[in-house]
Symmetry: C2
Subunit: 176 residues, 2 copies
Amino acid sequence: MNRIITVSREFGSGGREFGKRLAEQYVEQLVEKKPVIAFPIHIGRSFYPPANPVLEQTKSVVLEQQRIIKELAEKSDCVIVGRCADYILREYDPFRFFVYADMESKLKRCHRKAPGDEHLTDKELKRKIALIDKNRAAYYDFWTGGKWGLKLNYDLCINTTHTAIKEIAAALSKMF
Amino acid sequence: MNRIITVSREFGSGGREFGKRLAEQYVEQLVEKKPVIAFPIHIGRSFYPPANPVLEQTKSVVLEQQRIIKELAEKSDCVIVGRCADYILREYDPFRFFVYADMESKLKRCHRKAPGDEHLTDKELKRKIALIDKNRAAYYDFWTGGKWGLKLNYDLCINTTHTAIKEIAAALSKMF
């Protein structure tokens, strides 16, 4: 069975960067061990659920998404960020990360990564972050019947407030 | 400043084993890098708080314990399991682990590690585990004003339900 790694994350916590770095490290390691390897490792792109998951997302769209995610998991080892992949791929025995951070550190990261034409105050950005996470939680809880962010639902929860993503991704890639 | 690692843990989750293995791996790594090293790495022993932290533990005992823990932190790099060390050593910028697992896996581990003369049923053991963790939480919350087990209070939370402690300790030791 392919090695499946899922990354759930709070908005602004660096979960996507973690997933990307983990995948890169993992590939590097595999290449060292066995030079011929079935590429590619897939890294899912960020996914922003709609404000109201019930009204704005039809079941058929969700099912199609699930189908694609399962197809990726069948094809090769993969790191998938977001998209309830931890739940969708539960039969594949994924290693499930949850990435989070305190609000101050998420504000800093979001300001740093903001598009040039976005000029939000701390207060506005804080509201945006809270809203996106509220929607992620609602989306996850609605489609999975689980509880987004509850630590028992994950194998490893990483607080990026004081931890360098680069270093922790490098260390953890040795596990897979 | 010395490298301080603290491990908080649910009873039966393997937190002490994790701390021990992490310290061993860490020492091994340091010895490889620089053959002469200031031993020892200290590993705190398990600590069972009393049933009622307010009545049964005087402040002077707690202060003495804090003094000892700070002394360890001043002396050398250390891994300390339990004892609110994450809070007591907060000025030393510790890396804070929380180790947890689901109840079924904690039951299994406790049965396996039980002294030969202990024959608890699953129900009794479950009650014991729940009580010890309730006391740990009460003790922590009382002395620190914080919230035991809340993931934002830790840098890395490890669920040992499906994860081999040996492997994760080996991987994470590379980070320090």
